[in-house]
């Protein structure tokens, strides 16, 4: 790629490098507003939480490997089980999908130089880190959340849970949702306003459609959770009675609000995975996605209909039959957009010429697991079956096939797929395939027998079981599967770490990718593109003339935008060039204000309200500095 540049072009590229470069060292990472560096911070942090959540899963499986196990005490089991759910959902899957993949890739895919609000982006990351550490501070001080990730009242009320375990949960999730909301708003504006000239909505990558849908879902779903947690804190700390039936409250209010958030959450978790699948499949089948507009529409529809199905998590609470029938019907409708996407992937694979390299293998695994989890999910729309099998291991099997099989597998495939782009090195193909097969077989062995043991009547969330009920062989198989899966994941990490240091150098476009990120060097320069690309189709990398024209523009100095932190803004629908934006540069204030927010929540938790107000004032000051101070540029 790096052919010798003409002197003019070279001067422009060097100037761009000076303008966009971060400060060196740790300070550079602390003050960065580069979406790629923030994406990497998200990646490493969420992978660390993945390791924690995975360790918790192995502890659970070790406890349940035999009847009457004694690895964990009942109290330790409940904390472990709760933290496994909280960690995997709030501290791993959402941050790695939106934070890491979305942050790193969305601006690249749409040909932008950064997110719309770079400092808000940095702020999102630091708040996420703060909230994760906040929740885990509870675990390390012996007050780990222990009422399940769903945290039903009255078990989570002060009466039945007087320790601060639940306060770590409720405040931690409000804290965490600040980060997710800020990130979601950033994605919406970025995707609508920052697309490269010519990338009208119908030419936008399906990956970006998925992130657009996820961002809207986050913005509308998170308030329900935050309000729910705020009610809970008011009940616990100030003696309100939102959830106390003895004083006119209602325990089902918690469940309704929780699942109004919780079901869209499922789609928030899985839509980025769909986006990754729709990036990887065309590349490795060397063919366009079949039914592109239907898939784009389906991604949006899933996120929308997902808001109308929450009560199917509550079929056994005694709702009237007519209510359950409505929610069952809505839950069946949401199957259709998923089926459209599934068969669009399958048809693309069948009518293309698939190359079964490691990233595609993870997508195949994803498709297989998504079908299994989807089919068992449809079964839960049969109300009497739901009422019989909900809260058993059958439902644990179902959502692990969905959340691990269908949401995490594409993320892991995506790690392999974009590894050369991010690091400039190739991963090891053979070890990559081995890591896939270990993970795939491990997952199948860990999660499939859960269906059977659920049908045999094993409830969820039990810390032990009797040898007389006939569940032992299945639990043994599940635990062995979990260890195999862990081995596969360790192999994946080892492959990537070793390849980072010793892998073959990666070209800009090692796989024949379809989207713009493959047109820049591996790894991309801080400014992403020396020339803002102009797009004329949904598969810009296959438009060779366009990309050659970009190179010629560099010589002519067109669309280089080298006067400062510049990137173009475009119109929402047609992506006509609208104006050139002067973007804010790196800044210490996002991390400082996130620190102040951490202080606010720590003081709320410990009940030091005056100190809390001081942190609030400091937060306001840091916001002022954030907007007032603009460092000098090169």
């Amino acid at each position: 790629m790096t052919t010798a540049l003409r002197p003019d072009a070279l001067r422009r590229v060097e100037r761009l490098g000076r303008i966009w470069e971060d400060r060196p060292g740790v300070l550079g990472w602390l003050t960065t507003t580069d979406h790629k560096r923030i994406g990497l911070l998200y990646l490493f942090t969420s992978l660390a939480f993945f390791a924690a959540g995975g360790t918790e899963a192995l502890l659970i499986r070790t406890q349940l490997i035999v009847p009457n196990g004694s690895t964990l005490s009942p109290a330790a089991f409940n904390t472990t089980m709760t933290m496994h759910g909280v960690t995997m959902i709030f501290l791993f899957v959402i941050p790695i999908s939106t934070g890491a993949f979305g942050n790193y890739l969305v601006p690249l895919m749409i040909g932008a130089r950064d997110m719309a609000f770079p400092r808000l982006n940095a702020f999102s990351y630091w708040v996420f880190l703060g909230s994760g550490l906040f929740i885990y501070a509870g675990v390390f001080t012996g007050h780990g959340p222990n009422a399940g990730w769903f945290d039903y009242v009255p078990l989570a009320s002060r009466t039945y849970n007087p320790s601060s375990a639940i306060d770590f949960y409720a405040l931690g999730l409000i804290f965490n949702s600040i980060s997710s909301t800020a990130a979601a708003v950033n994605f919406i504006v970025t995707i609508f306003k920052m697309r490269a000239p010519g990338m009208s909505l119908n030419r936008m990558p399906l990956f970006c459609y998925a992130f657009l849908a996820v961002s809207f879902a986050l913005v509308f779903a998170l308030p329900a959770l935050s309000v729910d947690c705020a009610f809970l804190e008011l009940d616990r700390r100030l003696g309100f009675s939102f959830f106390d039936p003895a004083h006119g409250g209602d325990v089902l209010l918690w469940q309704n609000l929780f699942w109004i958030f919780g079901h869209p959450e499922v789609y928030i978790i899985i839509l980025p995975a769909f986006g990754i699948a729709t990036s990887i499949i065309p590349t490795f089948t060397r063919r366009r996605m079949v039914a592109f507009p239907m898939v784009a529409l389906a991604e949006i529809l899933v996120a929308f209909i997902g808001f109308g199905v929450w009560a199917h998590h509550m079929f056994s609470v005694g709702l009237s039959t007519i209510t359950t029938v409505y929610f069952a019907a809505a839950s069946m409708i949401v199957v259709i957009p998923s089926a459209i996407q599934l068969f669009a992937w399958l048809t693309t694979l069948v009518t293309g010429r698939p190359i079964f390299k490691t990233p595609l293998l993870w997508i195949i695994g994803f498709i297989v697991f998504f079908i299994i989890g989807g089919l068992s999910g449809i079964m839960f729309a049969a109300i009497p079956f739901d009422q019989q099998l909900t809260d058993t291991y059958f439902v644990v099997a179902h959502f692990h096939f969905i959340i691990f099989g269908a949401a995490v597998f594409p993320l892991l495939g995506g790690l392999y797929y974009w590894f050369p782009k991010v690091t400039g090195r190739m991963y090891h193909e053979g070890v990559g395939k081995l890591s896939f097969w270990l993970s795939f077989l491990g997952s199948a062995l860990a999660f499939f027998p859960m269906h059977i043991v659920g049908l045999l009547g094993m409830p969820r969330r039990v810390y032990t079981y009797s040898p007389q009920v006939g569940w032992a062989p299945y639990n043994l198989a599940e635990s062995i599967g979990a260890y195999i899966l862990a081995a596969g994941l360790v192999l994946l990490v080892a492959n990537l770490v070793v390849s980072y240091f010793r892998g073959a150098p990666a070209p800009a476009d090692p796989f024949g990718g379809t989207t713009l990120e493959w047109s820049t060097s591996s790894p991309p320069p801080p400014y992403n593109y020396a020339v803002i690309p102009t797009v004329t189709s949904a598969y810009p990398m296959w438009d060779v003339e366009d990309r050659e024209e970009d190179v010629r523009k560099l010589d002519r100095g067109e669309m280089v935008l080298e006067e400062g932190h510049e990137t173009p803004a475009s119109t929402v629908l047609d992506a006509n060039l609208d104006e050139v934006l002067d973007m804010p540069s790196d800044s210490p204030w996002p991390v400082v204000s996130a620190l102040m927010i951490t202080g606010i929540f720590a003081m709320l938790l410990t009940g030091h309200l005056i100190a809390m107000c001081i942190f609030l004032a400091l937060f306001a000051l840091s916001l002022g500095a954030w907007h007032g101070v603009e460092p000098q540029e090169a």
């Binding site: 009942p74 199957v335 599934l342 195949i364 729309a381 049969a382 006939g470 198989a477």
Partner: protein
């Protein structure tokens, strides 16, 4: 990249993995079939003892058959994609975007809609009514069950009978069970007799219990309710009507005065130590409401909601070390002398 030795090794690994996958698939199927066999003492949802559960089981096997067809079809498509990976040029249908879009519409919209509408009418219009809660006055027999952390309080309205963790019902008789909770949310679930229904503070629910055959049916709390959620089980005994009547009559009686002097002394231990502040024994001054009613404790087959069998060894262990047997439960350890302990056990074992 491009190292033929590596590629070959990768292919060998992949082939081995495929064989392992096939084995795993066969293994899973065998496990599933093995699961259909009923084990003694289990609580399988696949073993129906009432009209309600049999309908749910039929629904399950029907859905599984349909799901197997869909899954098989999808695997077939993946296999075709794999077989054709080396072919040059696009296949016939791939060149025509309309044909491939048509496939997506057929498989992704039309067929799912037909299947889902069918499922909706069978399950959500049909079976749902068969398993729904009985209407007021529909059954002559009523039982009230109150969920506690972590045991089941069982009452028979119209009688003074109170017991715990063992529900006796007459066989072939529809029984309306009224479900409430004294503390957190629990869920009442006897998988062989009916679906589960939650026990919520502030929202009483009802569920129909009916058993075709005489027998003991295991049930377990299905909503996470704290430390000992795992040890909150129960047994429903479907008895012949005469046996049930005799049982209920006995349950309704207060305590008969203890026969042996040792048991009499044990009663005093029970009343003067902390036992009576949490437990009720009808016919004595013990009126505690925190733990289960113990009037006929000795008739029960298990202790602590099916955690341990109700024999002398386990009873002694339970009274001596309640926090070791079931950590977190509300029963404290007592400071009894050896004599007092033996007297108390004699008394408890006489609560027939």
């Amino acid at each position: 990249m491009g190292n033929p030795g590596r590629e070959l090794r990768g292919q060998r690994v992949a082939a081995a993995a495929r064989r392992a996958l096939l084995l795993a698939g066969v293994g899973c199927t065998l496990l599933l079939l093995a699961g259909c066999g009923q084990s003694e003492g289990g609580q399988s949802t696949l073993h129906g003892e009432s009209d309600q559960t049999r309908k749910i089981i039929h629904l399950w096997w029907g859905m599984l058959a349909a799901a197997a067809v869909v899954f098989g079809g999808a695997l077939l498509l993946l296999a075709i994609a794999y077989r054709r990976r080396t072919r040059e040029g696009l296949p016939a249908i791939g060149q025509d975007e309309d044909v491939s879009t048509g496939l997506v519409v057929a498989f992704g919209v039309v067929i799912p809609v037909v299947c889902l509408v069918t499922l909706f009418f069978i399950s959500d219009i049909g079976v749902v009514n068969a398993t729904s809660a009985p209407k007021p006055g529909q059954t002559r027999m009523n039982v009230s069950v109150v969920g506690h952390q972590w045991f089941w309080e069982v009452r028979y309205p119209g009688t003074t009978a109170v017991t715990a963790n063992e529900i006796h019902i007459p066989v072939k008789t529809p029984v309306n069970v009224r479900l409430t909770s004294a503390d957190v949310i629990h869920s009442f679930w006897v998988p062989e007799l009916n679906k589960k229904v939650d026990m919520l503070p502030g929202h009483p629910n009802n569920v129909l219990l009916y058993a075709d055959t005489v027998g003991a049916y295991r049930g377990q709390c299905a909503e996470f309710c704290g430390l000992q959620h795992a040890n909150m089980a129960m047994t429903v005994y479907a008895d012949p009507p005469a046996k049930f009547k005799a049982w209920l009559a006995n349950m309704s009686r207060p305590l008969a005065p203890p026969a042996s002097p040792q048991a009499k002394a044990g009663e005093q231990v029970f009343l003067t130590q902390q036992c009576a502040s949490c437990h009720t024994i009808r016919g004595t001054a013990a009126r505690g409401r925190i733990g289960p009613d113990l009037t006929h404790l000795a008739t029960r087959r298990t202790l602590a909601a099916l955690t341990i069998p109700n024999d002398r060894v386990h009873l002694a262990d339970w009274v001596a070390n309640p926090q070791r047997v079931k950590p977190g439960n509300k029963m404290p350890g007592l400071n009894l002398t050896g004599t007092q302990f033996q007297q108390l056990l004699a008394f408890l074992q006489g609560l027939k």
